[in-house]
């Protein structure tokens, strides 16, 4: 067995040991994971962002417009001193402002308009029969929206309607949990397969 598999296998076992209790081996592995992953992000960000997107085009191709993000980035480092800390608020303003600007139409479209228009369907079918699913959708949507209505206390008839909304919410949470169990288990199964076949060679 090669050294890579031994190390990966041991580290896998050590991380699992956290389930029993916090222990020195786990503490060591945890600290190593944090350290190595920070180091990894540092290197990847340096090569993919700073070199490829900033320094190369700026200094080799003389794309002068890149001076703007260069300075925005440098301003961020102003946080190292109390005197220059105000400079860092400019790049933060750029991020927060542009993020908010793009969020308005995209959130409105993807989260609100699209979801809303997909809910509309006739409550009677052409043959005159009741469209139960359609009614469930409409009642569910309206009552859940009533739950999210903050201007009124949940009392009386309105309160009862909003409470109906919470039942729909609970159906959603239960359903999601049920469906997500699978994806949570599959990573575990993957790790066990690695441990049993690659590391311990018990199964093939």
């Amino acid at each position: 067995m090669d050294i890579s598999t031994i190390i990966a296998g041991l580290l896998t076992l050590i991380i699992f040991s956290f389930l029993y209790k916090d222990n020195p081996f786990y503490k060591m592995a945890e600290s190593l994971l944090i350290g190595v992953s920070i180091g990894y992000v540092l290197v990847i960000t340096w090569s993919n962002t700073l070199m490829d997107m900033l320094f190369e085009p700026l200094f080799s191709n003389a794309e002068l417009s890149l001076i703007i993000p260069l300075f925005l980035g440098l301003f961020m480092l102003g946080r190292f001193s109390d005197k220059t800390v105000a400079l860092s608020r400019i790049p933060i303003a750029v991020m927060i402002g542009s993020g908010a600007g793009i969020a308005i139409p995209t959130m409105l479209y993807n989260r609100t308009i699209k979801q809303l228009t997909a809910s509309v369907m006739p409550i009677f079918t052409e043959s005159g029969g009741l469209n139960i699913s359609g009614i469930v959708v409409i009642v569910g949507l309206l009552s859940t929206l009533a739950y999210f209505y903050f201007s009124r206390e949940h009392k009386g008839k309105f309160g009862a309607f909003a409470k109906l909304g919470t039942y729909f919410l609970m159906i959603f949470f239960g359903t999601t949990f049920g469906y997500t169990v699978m994806s949570r288990m599959s990573t575990f199964i993957g790790r066990m397969e690695f441990l049993l076949s690659d590391f311990l060679k018990i199964t093939q």
Partner: protein, 72 residues
Amino acid sequence: MVTTYDPYLASHQMTAMIGGLRGAAEYEKLLGMKGGGSRGMLAQSAAHLYVIFLIVLGNIFYFRNKKKGARQ
């Protein structure tokens, strides 16, 4: 992760989806091959049953303690 995309599927922002391991197994069956998906199904069923068992067990404990509490 399946339910994350459901609304997008229904609102036609996405056209099709292969959901989870079961979806993978069904897809494999469709293509007529045997892969990790079908093998994983057994483990998946076991995992689901295990979670059902835990939920039921949790409720048995809960109602037993409640009864005890009521008697005292």
